[in-house]
């Protein structure tokens, strides 16, 4: 086994640690920092340093080293936190992320950036506490000749429970519980790099290594934690002094082996032999000892035992199979209901049980793909903080409904549009503090991000308490851009103007927004996800932008319709109403175009049988049923033969094995096992237009293929 096998584990863990670090940094109250949080940040930096040292990521190790020392001063109260210091810390965190990425891609991190950040940290240390972080001997820029795990000169030997271990080479005994042969060898090798292995021996259940090393116990633990679980390792000083002040129950050599030869090693009682946690707490505030240790073990346990990483492909496969199961079940159901005279109650009971279980199974499986909105919202404190800083505004960010769940593919795609909307609200919505004060509002603007479920949809709102949209300015700007507007337009219609391409009402272009690129992209992206955007705005009170999205793309609420002998599905979200067209409401236009008048609105008529060449369909307009549908902001009247019913369908991609079909967005499988196509409303309209054009004599030369191709491209 090669040490590189553990790179991925390290990268993943380090990434999580960095995410934690950022969260804590953002939560920090600068005036009265919470010691627990400072400790957590320190521990994160510390663990990354340990791992980086083990794997020989020199630059990463040295950056974290400086960072860690600075954090150490901070948590001891020697360095007074300020907002700009936190900013530097955040910057350092970003730098660490970059370095991590570089190592992950087998690159060398950016040396210049590294030197710059080191200098910044050094300067900060010198200015604030008058100390050189590296002990003044080596310059930062010059890479140190000696390689990895260098014994770190602690900036200040703190009076702790283990005063000698760090200073001199000391003997300590590392006990490994239930560690397999391979890992054991690897660990001994690893320990050999940290110091001199004097003796090692034992069996799988309990294996002891005596080590002479100048490295601290917690560093040893940090290194080993990349290979085994923290509770599989116990470290104590050879002198018999327990490293942990919590007086960890000394593992009796044979005891674990006898009690639980195979089971997971759950150390008896409190899992407190955690020198790292105990030590850091011991330095900061001795009383918080147990609490800190508990916090750490909880964090660890939470990360490892309550979730697993599974590839999305596997999940999709399960979802497909369950979809199959549902279809088979409904086929069976149909067969049973058609069996005459067989009123076997056991069979019927079994069938209804199967149905219920299958539905439950489908629901649980679908929920695997769902992840909480927290995944999206958690990145906004940073965005808001930075944007507000740039704009010189004071903003309070409130998030609501973080636990609302949404399909993973949608959460990933919603991030960019949402970021854009938030930036926009900060830039255009919320006024500068002085203006707010003058308007009698609190200086600090409030931005609310909320998510909630409503029906089969999720509603995400960006709410600000800023100036609101300016109707007159929007109209003026629209005229300037040559958009067709009138003063009688409803507010809603005016607000929608901001989604027009190239539209920006910002008086000046700022770094943050105002170039007029974006809002149209936001709208398009959201429509691409099957959702839509609404705006509500009150002058002087603020603006709410509401995004309505379907919960998942894998299941669709559909309306099944019949044309001729063929069955199609319309997305229910697009269907507004259906009616039987009366003769007097149908108007012919310019030859064979027909419009239908519905409540003072003339809608283009799209005959499905025409667009899709369905044989044996009803052709007399007044015998058909007109389904009024909405697609890309426009309304159409689709002529169909019959409405069959509403049902939830599992969306299947046509392009997996075939190609894109004009007028069709996807396919699904009906209860009888046959395939039905899900119609794409705007595509259908284009298709029917293309067909009509083809029929016109002067266009007769153009083939249908060309026209459909054009329709596809548009």
């Amino acid at each position: 086994m090669d040490i590189t096998d553990f790179y991925d584990t390290f990268f993943e863990e380090a990434e999580e640690l960095l995410a934690d670090m950022e969260r804590y940094l953002l939560e920090l109250d600068v005036d009265a920092p919470d010691t627990e949080q400072l400790n957590a940040i320190f521990r994160a930096a510390h663990s990354i340093k340990g791992g980086a040292g083990t794997f020989g990521f020199d630059v990463l190790q040295r950056t974290t080293h400086l960072f860690e020392n600075l954090l150490d001063h901070t948590r001891k109260g020697e360095l007074k936190l300020r907002r700009d210091i936190v900013d530097i810390f955040l910057e350092t965190k970003d730098m660490l992320s970059d370095q991590l990425d570089a190592y992950r891609n087998s690159d060398e991190p950016d040396q210049e950036a590294f030197e710059r950040i080191c200098e910044t940290l050094q300067r900060l240390a010198l200015e604030e506490i008058g100390q050189d972080l590296e002990g003044g001997s080596t310059s930062v820029a010059a890479p140190k000749p000696q390689a990895k795990p260098e014994p770190e000169p602690k900036p200040e030997p703190v009076a702790s429970d283990e005063p000698d271990i760090e200073a001199d080479s000391n003997h300590c005994i590392v006990t490994l519980l239930n560690v397999g042969e391979k890992d054991r060898q690897l660990l001994v090798e690893e320990l050999g790099q940290l110091g001199e292995v004097i003796t090692h021996g034992g069996d799988e259940a309990c294996y002891e290594v005596t080590l002479a090393s100048s490295v601290g116990n917690d560093d040893i633990e940090a290194v080993m934690c990349f290979i085994v679980d923290a509770d599989q390792v116990q470290i104590r000083s050879a002198g018999g002094v327990s490293a942990s002040p919590a007086d960890a129950p000394e593992p009796e050599k044979k005891a674990p082996a006898q009690q639980q030869p195979t089971a997971q090693p759950t150390p008896p009682e409190a899992p407190s032999p955690k020198p790292a946690a105990a030590k850091s707490a011991g330095e900061a505030k001795p009383a918080g000892d147990a609490k800190s240790a508990k916090a750490k073990s909880k964090a660890k346990g939470g990360g490892e035992s309550t979730s697993i990483r599974v590839s999305v492909d596997k999940v999709d496969q399960i979802i497909n199979l369950v979809g199959e199961l549902i279809i088979t079940q409904s086929m069976l159901d149909q067969t049973v209901s058609e069996m005459e005279g067989v009123a076997d109650s056991a069979l019927l009971n079994g069938m209804s049980l199967l149905q219920r279980n299958a539905r439950d199974l489908q629901e649980s499986v679908m929920s695997i793909r769902m992840i909480p909105m927290d995944f999206v919202f958690s990145r906004f404190p940073r965005v808001v903080r930075e944007t507000a800083g740039k704009l010189g505004k004071e903003i309070e960010l409130v998030t609501e409904g973080e636990s609302t769940e949404l399909d993973k593919s949608l959460t990933e795609r919603i991030i960019d549009p949402l970021t854009h909307l938030v930036r926009n609200s900060l830039d255009h919505g919320i006024e500068p503090p002085d203006v707010r004060e003058a308007a009698g509002k609190p200086r600090t603007g409030k931005l609310i991000l909320s998510a909630k479920h409503q029906g089969g949809n999720i509603i995400i709102e960006v709410i600000d308490d800023g100036a609101g949209l300016n109707r007159d300015r929007l109209l003026a700007k629209a005229r300037e851009n040559g958009l067709p507007v009138s003063d009688t337009m409803s507010d809603d219609e005016v607000w929608q103007l901001i989604f027009a391409p190239g539209f920006s009402t910002a008086k000046e272009v700022t770094d943050v927004s105002g170039r007029g690129v974006g809002m149209d992209v936001v709208k398009r992206n959201i429509q691409g996800m099957g959702g839509h955007v609404l705006i509500m705005s009150t002058p002087g009170e603020g603006t709410t932008i509401r995004i309505v999205l379907p919960l998942t793309l894998a299941i669709l609420d559909g309306m099944s319709i019949k044309v001729g002998n063929e069955m199609f599905i319309l997305p229910l979200s697009a269907v507004l109403e259906s009616l039987q067209p009366a003769k007097e409401d149908l108007y012919a236009m310019a030859g064979d175009d027909v419009v239908l008048k519905v409540r003072d609105e003339y809608l283009p008529v799209v005959a499905v049988h025409e667009a899709l060449d369905v044989p044996n369909a009803k052709t007399t307009l007044t015998e058909t049923i007109a389904v009024i549908v909405q697609g890309e902001g426009r309304r159409y009247a689709l002529l169909v033969d019959d409405l069959v019913g509403q049902q939830q369908v599992v969306v299947k991609n046509l392009e997996t094995n075939y190609r894109k079909v004009p007028g069709v967005s996807a396919a699904t499988i009906l209860g009888d096992g046959s395939v039905a196509l899900i119609l794409d409303i705007t595509g259908l309209h284009r298709l029917s237009r293309a067909k009509k054009e083809k029929r016109r004599p002067e266009r007769g030369l153009q083939t249908l293929e060309v026209l459909t191709e054009n329709a596809l491209e548009n």
């Binding site: 369905v614 299947k652 094995n657 190609r659 894109k660 046959s674 298709l687």
Partner: protein
């Protein structure tokens, strides 16, 4: 002596390939058996509008939507009927699953390399680009179809080309 014979035989066998033989009208065709996923009846095909006539539509193959191509129409055979004998061969080409409609499946044949002759330049309907060769088997002749090339070709219109 016998040992070398065995070795030669094994080597020859290693180059032998197995083919699934199917019929289109009176003609016999063959495809590499490794491309074949399964054989099923022709049923429940949903028509796709505005597609070429030889694309019969799509069907549900255990939850997967699979396009169905009728090679008889593609090869301009006179008689195209759908009956109990009509069979769909489901093949795997370039990570796609496609069903091809044929008149019947007869057997699986093993052909050695010397039984496969190069395909002559012929045919307007079936370009020799789509053939791996002609297999001769006593008095029978098998047209060996290069199913990968055929089904992914532009004229089959089964695959969206990147150029679009």
């Amino acid at each position: 002596m016998s040992q070398t014979n065995d070795a030669a035989l094994a080597a020859a066998e290693a180059h032998n390939r197995e083919f699934l033989v199917f019929s289109l009208g009176d003609e016999e065709y063959a495809v590499d058996i490794l491309k074949v996923q399964e054989i099923r009846g022709y049923e429940n095909v949903t028509r796709i509008a505005n597609a070429p006539d030889f694309i019969k539509g799509v069907t549900n193959l255990r939850g997967v939507i699979v396009p169905i191509v009728d090679l008889r129409i593609k090869f301009h055979l006179d008689k195209v009927e759908y009956g109990g004998q009509t069979v769909v061969i489901v093949v795997n080409v370039e990570d796609r699953v496609v069903g091809i409609v044929v008149d019947g499946v007869s057997d699986v044949m093993t052909l050695s390399p010397d039984q496969i002759k190069p395909a002559p330049e012929f045919g307007v309907t079936l370009s020799s680009d789509f053939l791996s060769g002609l297999g001769s088997l006593e008095d029978r002749m098998l047209v060996i179809v290069d199913i990968d090339k055929l089904l992914t070709s532009d004229e089959m219109a089964l695959v969206d080309r990147v150029a679009e």
